[in-house]
Symmetry: C2
């Protein structure tokens, strides 16, 4: 192609390629006159830097990976949007991957990160355990979501325990006494699930409620479909609603909560009159459901920014991963808990 190179610009401006490089990269040590002349020549020739060449020289690919469980989940869409924005500020491209919320998918993301030469990977993990992650080779990695990092992996945590506790305390505050925790599949610890479960237990204990009255309900997958099946089952079995049934549910994620509410409705129950429901994530659609969804909303902007910035630090200095950080959150009270 007739791509204009630095040498072309240099020749046209009557300087060396090195000077052009210095101008393009805003480095010091170029006189104003020369700088201006080079800038003009760049303008005239339509020169654009060749990213591949720069990357080759720098030993980088200029791409970071972002692997999320599901791209069509609004929560991860929001996350992706913010991460792309922050990465763009640093001239980094973000390649998105989907893991399907399965350990195999997460391994796949790591593999393809290496195959496609990503400079680093932000992994929103649900499945992979720490032991496995720490044995993974050379790839700057930031984990999003879990906590209790004892490993060599950088980590931005969600406010799992505190957020879940706040949500459960709110359910109790609104009159619920027989709570249920609807989680995903029960797998390795510590996971998002186990930490949120701890939070809910803490709230129940703090309220002086008999822990016998706290139910743990499994749910095969973290999808709306699966949540709906659970909600319907709970309602039809009389396990929810009614004088002795569950009267307050914390759903592991908003996605689950959306399906769960619909399942309860399918079974003839009303939310919040018969059962209160709260979720976790703060997905946008939650505000516009009928009933709208009470949720724990982590600060997505903060999360995205810290994830990218810390990944960049790791890429640059390949030092130790640094401290865990936990995202701030707020409890958004809406109709599903009578708010």
């Amino acid at each position: 192609m007739g791509a204009v190179t630095m040498s072309d610009v240099a020749r046209a401006a009557g300087v060396s390629p090195m000077t052009v490089s210095n101008v393009v990269n805003g480095r010091a040590g170029v006189s104003d006159a020369v700088r201006r002349r080079v800038m003009e020549t760049i303008e005239e020739t339509g020169y654009r830097i060749n990213v591949a060449a720069r990357n080759l020289r720098a030993g980088r690919s200029g791409v970071i990976g972002l692997a999320v469980p599901e791209l069509d989940n609004p929560y991860f869409g929001e996350l992706a949007r913010r991460i792309v924005a922050v990465a763009g500020e640093h001239d980094l491209r973000v390649a998105v991957e989907e893991t399907g919320a399965a350990p195999e998918g997460e391994r796949g993301a790591i593999r393809s990160s290496k195959r496609l030469d990503y400079d680093g990977l932000i992994l929103s993990t649900v499945g992979l355990d720490m032991a496995e992650l720490t044995t993974l080779p050379q790839l700057p990695l930031m984990l999003l979501g879990e906590r209790e990092n004892r490993s060599a992996v950088g980590h931005i945590a969600l406010p799992n325990a505190d957020g879940a506790q706040a949500a459960a305390a709110h359910l109790i505050d609104r009159g619920a006494r027989r709570l249920a925790f609807v989680g995903g599949p029960d797998d390795r610890e510590p996971t998002i699930r186990s930490m949120r479960w701890d939070g809910v237990q803490a709230a129940v204990r703090a309220a002086g409620i008999d822990e016998e009255d706290l139910r743990l309900v499994d749910c095969e997958m973290l999808t709306m479909d699966a949540g709906r099946a659970v909600g319907r089952r709970l309602g039809e079995q009389g396990a929810a609603g009614g004088p002795d049934g569950v009267d307050g549910i914390f759903a592991l994620t908003d996605t689950l909560a959306v399906g769960l509410i619909r399942g309860l409705v399918d079974a003839g129950l009303r939310v919040p009159e018969d059962v209160l429901v709260a979720g976790f994530d703060g997905i946008g659609v939650g505000a516009h459901l009928t009933p709208s969804l009470t949720t724990v909303e982590p600060d997505h902007d903060w999360t995205a920014r810290r994830a990218v910035e810390r990944l960049l630090e790791r890429i640059a200095m390949s030092g130790p991963p640094g401290e865990d950080e936990i995202a701030p959150f707020r409890l958004v009270v809406r109709e599903s808990t009578g708010g």
Copy 2:
């Protein structure tokens, strides 16, 4: 870094770098014995190809851009997921961008595609008009969404007119007589909006309904919030529901429809008892709303595959953009139209 290069592998295997290259790229003309030996050496040394170097050599960046209006909109999440999958089959990385559904954002995506050296761009456009797109310089471009391409730009269209017509016909079939079309802001033609509007008009005409009874309602943005405001206004003004009010609404997108339904509910109306509502896009959450959402669902898999494949063709051969193609669709009937 101690990255293993092709030369390293070549030396270790006692062959030339070129032979290693041939093996790595599965090219013919390597004896089985040598191929095996090279493979083993690659395995032993942990060699991985340097993508930046390959790209520099090939004059590509190995990254395509995908620019969508909103990443936290499930529709685009689904689209992104599929595009990433197909691109991955071709060893391409997908960098996602957000345009904010504004012409300026779309221009920005094109600019940053060039700044970051994307090999091509898939642009799900709502705002930019064709005239502007055709004047854009050298960047293989596939447009997603609009139609009536008279330009030099490749184009995968959604079934805008036919889909909208099917939805409107269905509303009429379910008893609606006073339809409303709730669209985004009214801008340049032809847009998604104008084409879907044409489809709805066609359905009304075909049913022999007085076109006076078809209302066109503007909506400032294509967001749930904006849709909700419109729904509330329609309900509160008595413009929807009641004996003379609108009794069937086609919303330009599912996102809009979600907010719209909620706004009608806010105003004390029931869907579908008082008003029928249908949307367009087939977002996943639509199945789990109360009421669940009737929608025109384009074949996302097909769309993603064709978009990537045709972009690749354009990148490879930089020929003419080729024919427009229109995605197949199906009408998914759910509760919001009494289904």
